[in-house]
């Protein structure tokens, strides 16, 4: 496909910037792109679909970034994504764990995978993040740049 298979890492921002804090995933990508990482692809998604299993099978590592309604102690949570089909609810949108599971089963490739949740608060039809969500985004970005970007994105 058109995606550059030489790239090592792909980062998914999941959400919708027209629904307030649901735009956290995209906003994270916007900030990260300023770093001009090499060998990194950025993918803005409303929802994950099964074809994303094919897409991530071309990469060594993948990071899924999404807004979260969960109450997170420091406003964000970064964790390993473990392949699983247990979240296969009866609908058309898939979760990161299932995408990873399908990549392994359909394409015999399981990249290193991580999930970054960033806590949001408001979800109405409106552009722009809330102040608290923006603060969480900045904290998450700072954390990511300091602790993980060099390991994951420049490996």
């Amino acid at each position: 496909m058109r995606e550059n298979v030489e790239n090592k890492c792909i980062i998914f921002g999941i959400g919708n910037s027209g629904r307030q804090d649901d735009g956290l995933g995209w906003a994270f990508l916007d900030l990260l792109k300023k770093n001009e990482f090499e060998k990194v692809s950025f993918e803005y998604k409303y929802q994950l679909q099964i074809e994303d299993a094919e897409l991530i099978s071309n990469y060594d590592s993948v990071i899924f970034v999404d807004a979260s309604k969960n109450d997170l102690m420091i406003g964000y949570k970064f964790d390993t994504c473990r392949a699983s089909n247990k979240y296969c609810f009866s609908t058309h949108a898939l979760v990161p764990e299932t995408i990873l599971y399908l990549s392994e089963h359909l394409y015999n490739h399981k990249p290193k995978a991580f999930i970054l949740e960033i806590q949001g608060y408001e979800w109405e039809l409106k552009n722009g993040l809330t102040k608290k969500a923006s603060d969480n985004l900045n904290r998450a970005t700072e954390f990511f740049n300091q602790k993980y970007s060099s390991d994951i994105l420049k490996a």
């Binding site: 496909m1 058109r2 999941i14 959400g15 919708n16 027209g18 629904r19 804090d21 649901d22 409303y46 929802q47 679909q49 099964i50 074809e51 299993a53 094919e54 999404d66 807004a67 979260s68 309604k69 969960n70 089909n85 296969c88 609810f89 009866s90 609908t91 058309h92 949108a93 898939l94 979760v95 299932t98 599971y101 399908l102 089963h105 359909l106 999930i115 949740e117 949001g120 979800w123």
Partner: protein, 482 residues
């Protein structure tokens, strides 16, 4: 009296809810398919400059934004004085290629991701199994092809509109850029993507699969949600063939009699009205002459194959003829045949994409035409789910003063309610125990229409199905989540 609630209906685009009212003996008293989200696009687009409409209305949907983009663009063309036939050949063909890419990927999404679990595993299978991930694991080859077919359509969209979702191609009077040789070469000669011939061959394979399924399950496909209805769609202005981008409106009644005879787009308002009900935000369009109770029509693949005289591409036409033989060339009111019709349209789109990709006109710089400014524009297109109508009025300051949208799923509102009633009456009514499989059959009937109820985006971890059983006072008797 008891009330069954299915909320939300799953494997459809957007959120809907079904309620089925039962009496003390579990006999169905009534049923409703509700659309519970209110969006208000027609209202908040008012006041915007008309040239923003094709961009703004895309936000109606994350699945078929291209259809809204093109329907609005066709209407806005008229505001700038350009009729569909007056667009440059380049603009017409690039828009059609975009449209076929959209239909191809949308139909692939529906068949492989949403409908196939019911067909492959059965409507009564364990709900944990009825999903696309299980299809991928047990039918790997089918799943891989489905993925690449959807991706091919999305790549067409991305090439023309810049993005897979919410890109921009059409501008008032044309398109904003041509297709380059490099773009075209990517689809015709690149090894980075399966060829257009592969798309055609795989489309035929999937139709063969469905015909085999039909041979084994004919009785069920014939009888499940078979009920009389009108059928509405665009047809080619010259020969009455299948037409998805620009044609005349034709409707047939449940017996195949013509009830709307090739009406030009601009006249639609003379023939259609929209009813409302308190229990749903979705309107109920109908033909004025026949009234609300008898004037409703199915739209979408089944209706389109029913109303057209033929298909211009040879392979799809062969399949249409076989499809028609299944009902002895009579009109087809069998809801489950929608899947078969949808696959025939996929094949048609693949053939048309091949024709257009090989057409030199798409490489030309003749992109935009101009005409004499008007104050009204109507754009009608066949979206994946059926006839889509955009109607705008603008003032002399270029602001939109009125907007009327009749989207495909709105036409299918009454047909889907009829489908729910059929299942309630024929599957659920009088049964001592209501099983999950029975409730899924309600969804199967709705799902055949591939309804696009709205585009909702969810944060991590959200999207439950919650089924509740309530007594006549609204007290909770039972509930189930999945």
């Amino acid at each position: 009296m008891k009330k069954l609630v299915i909320d939300p209906v799953t494997r459809v685009e957007g959120h809907g809810k079904v309620t089925i009212h039962l009496d003390e003996n579990n006999k169905v008293k009534d049923s409703f398919f509700h659309i519970v989200e209110f969006r208000g696009f027609e209202r908040f687009i008012q006041g915007h400059p008309y040239w923003e409409a094709p961009v703004l209305v895309q936000r109606l949907c994350g699945i078929c934004p291209v259809s809204h983009h093109l329907a609005a663009a066709k209407a806005i063309d008229q505001i700038v004085g350009v009729n569909p036939e007056d667009l440059s050949l380049t603009a017409q063909k690039i828009r059609k290629l975009l449209h076929f890419g959209q239909l191809f990927q949308s139909h692939a999404l529906h068949f492989f991701y949403l409908a196939s679990p019911d067909l492959l595993f059965g409507v009564n299978a364990d709900p944990a199994k009825r999903n696309v991930a299980e299809v991928a694991i047990e039918h790997t080859d089918l799943a891989k092809k489905g993925i690449l077919m959807r991706k091919f359509g999305q790549e067409i969209i991305k090439t023309i509109a810049g993005k897979r979702i919410h890109g921009i191609s059409a501008v008032p009077g044309g398109v904003h850029k041509k297709i380059t040789l490099q773009d075209r070469d990517y689809f015709l000669n690149s090894k980075d993507i399966p060829s257009i011939d592969a798309m055609i061959n795989w489309s035929k394979e999937i139709i063969d699969f469905l015909k085999g399924y039909h041979d084994v399950n004919k009785k069920w496909l014939d009888e499940f949600a078979d009920y009389p209805s009108g059928h509405l769609g665009l047809v080619n202005k010259e020969n009455g063939f299948l037409e998805l981008y620009d044609g005349n409106l034709r409707a047939l009644d449940a017996n195949g009699k013509v009830i709307l005879n090739d009406v030009p787009n601009d006249d639609y308002i003379q023939y259609f009205n929209e009813g409302v009900e308190k229990w749903t935000y979705l309107k109920f369009p109908y033909l004025k002459d026949l009234g609300k109770d008898k004037g409703w029509n199915r739209v979408g693949p089944l209706a389109r194959i029913n109303v057209c005289n033929g298909i211009e591409t040879p392979l799809a036409e062969e399949e249409r003829i076989i499809f028609k033989l299944a009902t002895h060339n009579k009109i087809n009111n069998k809801t489950m045949y929608s899947h078969w019709a949808r696959l025939i349209e996929m094949l048609y789109c693949a053939e048309m994409m091949k024709n257009l990709l090989n057409d030199e006109d798409i490489l030309s710089n003749d992109l935009v035409r101009k005409g004499e400014r008007r104050n009204e524009g109507i754009g009608i297109i066949e979206a994946p789910r059926g006839t889509l109508i955009h109607h705008y009025e603008v003032d002399d300051k270029d602001r939109i003063t009125r907007c009327n949208l009749i989207v495909s799923t709105t036409h299918n509102n009454e047909p889907m309610n009829q489908a729910v009633k059929w299942v309630a009456k024929n599957v659920i009514s009088g049964e001592p125990t209501i099983t999950e499989g029975m409730l899924n059959q309600v969804e199967v009937a709705i799902r055949a229409y591939d309804p696009c109820l709205s585009c909702a985006t969810h944060a991590l971890g959200q999207m439950p199905l919650h089924v509740t059983l309530l007594d006549h006072n609204g007290n909770l008797l039972d509930e189930r989540k999945r």
